[in-house]
């Protein structure tokens, strides 16, 4: 199973009435979608509102999703359209301008700056996460590193990786899991160190 089709199982679960499965898709793509929306709506708070609308629209439209494209490709289009519509209505509506002014409060400003990857704080957070992950990957045993790289960067299925690494699929699954565990231990240190990430990650 390729990376593009790896969400299909969750999508089918949502289509079958399992709303919790959609929560997992949101957890998986939240950063990507919010960042995508921020190309159109610069304010981090507004961008999250728009991203939330995009996810809600996706959830409502999911029964009609036939899997002709990858889930994220489909979600990407919804997010872009929602952002464009929000941008158009924002130009017409004075409400958004007032909301922008509300962000002058210091506490909200700090949160916004931390969330915004273009600010020094946001860049620092992003860089620290990336550096931690990369350092953890470098320290992995060769088999684990190869397995996780083939999966995450090459998008290969477990079956394809098993053929490439000449090992059973179960072993591939175990190697990828152990690689993630090792990286996760390092990542938890970062989050526990006060970067203020969320209870979602801890």
């Amino acid at each position: 199973m390729s990376a593009d089709s790896s969400d299909l199982g969750l999508v089918q679960r949502v289509q079958g009435g399992d709303r919790a499965a959609f929560d997992l898709l949101v957890l998986k793509y939240q950063h990507k979608v919010v960042k995508l929306v921020q190309r159109y709506v610069r304010d981090p708070s507004d961008a999250e509102d728009v991203a939330q609308d995009a996810f809600i629209k996706a959830y409502k439209a999911l029964p009609r999703f036939r899997g002709d494209s990858a889930f994220y490709t489909w979600l990407y289009r919804i997010a872009i359209n929602t952002a464009k519509n929000a941008l158009a209505s924002r130009k017409r509506s004075p409400v958004s301008l007032e909301r922008e002014n509300d962000h002058g409060e210091e506490s909200q400003d700090v949160v916004s700056r931390l969330r915004d990857p273009e600010t020094p704080e946001g860049l620092a957070l992003t860089e620290e996460i990336r550096n931690t992950v990369n350092a953890a990957i470098e320290s992995l045993p060769h088999d684990l590193r190869t397995a996780i790289v083939l999966r995450e960067l090459e998008g290969m299925s477990y079956e394809e990786i098993s053929q490439s690494m000449d090992c059973p699929v179960g072993t591939v699954r175990s190697r990828i899991f152990r690689a993630r565990e090792a990286i996760d231990r390092q990542l938890k240190v970062v989050f526990d160190g006060g970067l203020g990430r969320s209870e979602e990650l801890q």
Binding site: R13, K28, H31, V95, S96, I129, S157, R173, E200
Partner: protein
């Protein structure tokens, strides 16, 4: 050990490699186990970081807010923008309805709205009294020719105010032969347009003057000095 198996399943599920029956059980477990959900998020974050995708876009609790918004009734989860659109739509509908009511009430000539019953139609259909108005305004003596009344062409349908206009013109044209009191009462009942009524009154006065002049000429011709 059991927990490690669950975590292994989370890893496989994230990759879409977990068999469907296990996927169903794990999905239920994830729904009620925040720690396991956090692990799911971190595993997803690792992949995103490796692919240089955004890893810090959404704020803490974003996914939870989306979940709550989906769980809420559709009327309560509208965002500011959507609510604003809805309000704008309502205002537009109310506006259209209001205009419709005004038009309908104007059609039936409701005087309380300050709208005259089709004044434009009345003005356009109002018959001119040739050679009279201008002379009356300029104070020239009236012609001896009898006043002629031009019947306005039929405007077709939708011209309710034509009848009062025609009637008013008829009264004007024959004002010499009616008493001032009767003429005034009749005109006021058929003319509702104030501007038009003023013009009618002016024409009426001019006709009155002409009638008096004619009477004086007749009396002078007959050698009548008056009382």
């Amino acid at each position: 050990m059991i927990h490690e198996e669950l975590e292994s399943q989370v890893s496989a599920m994230l990759d879409g490699e977990l068999p469907a029956p296990e996927c169903e059980l794990l999905s239920r477990r994830l729904a009620r186990d925040p720690a396991l959900r956090a692990r799911w998020s971190r595993y997803a974050l690792i992949g995103a970081a490796m692919r240089s995708e955004p890893v810090a876009g959404a704020s803490a609790g974003f996914a939870g807010r989306v979940s709550e918004a989906i769980a809420r009734p559709s009327t309560a989860r509208r965002s500011t923008h959507v609510a604003w659109k809805a309000m704008l739509g309502s205002v537009m509908v109310a506006g259209v309805a209001g205009v419709a009511v005004l038009v309908m009430r104007a059609d039936i000539g409701d005087p309380s709205l300050g709208l005259e019953p089709q004044p434009i139609v009345v003005a356009s259909q109002r018959a001119e009294l040739p050679g009279r108005s201008a002379r009356a305004d300029s104070g020239e003596p009236a012609s001896n020719e009898p006043a002629s009344y031009v019947v306005p062409p039929s405007p077709g349908k939708g011209s309710v105010a034509v009848l009062p206009a025609q009637l008013a013109n008829y009264v004007l044209a024959h004002s010499e032969y009616s008493s001032p009191l009767t003429r005034s009462g009749l005109l006021s009942s058929v003319v509702s347009n104030e501007q038009f009524a003023a013009e009618v009154a002016a024409q009426q006065a001019a006709a009155q003057r002409r009638a008096e002049q004619q009477q004086q000429q007749v009396q002078a011709a007959e050698g009548y000095a008056g009382p």
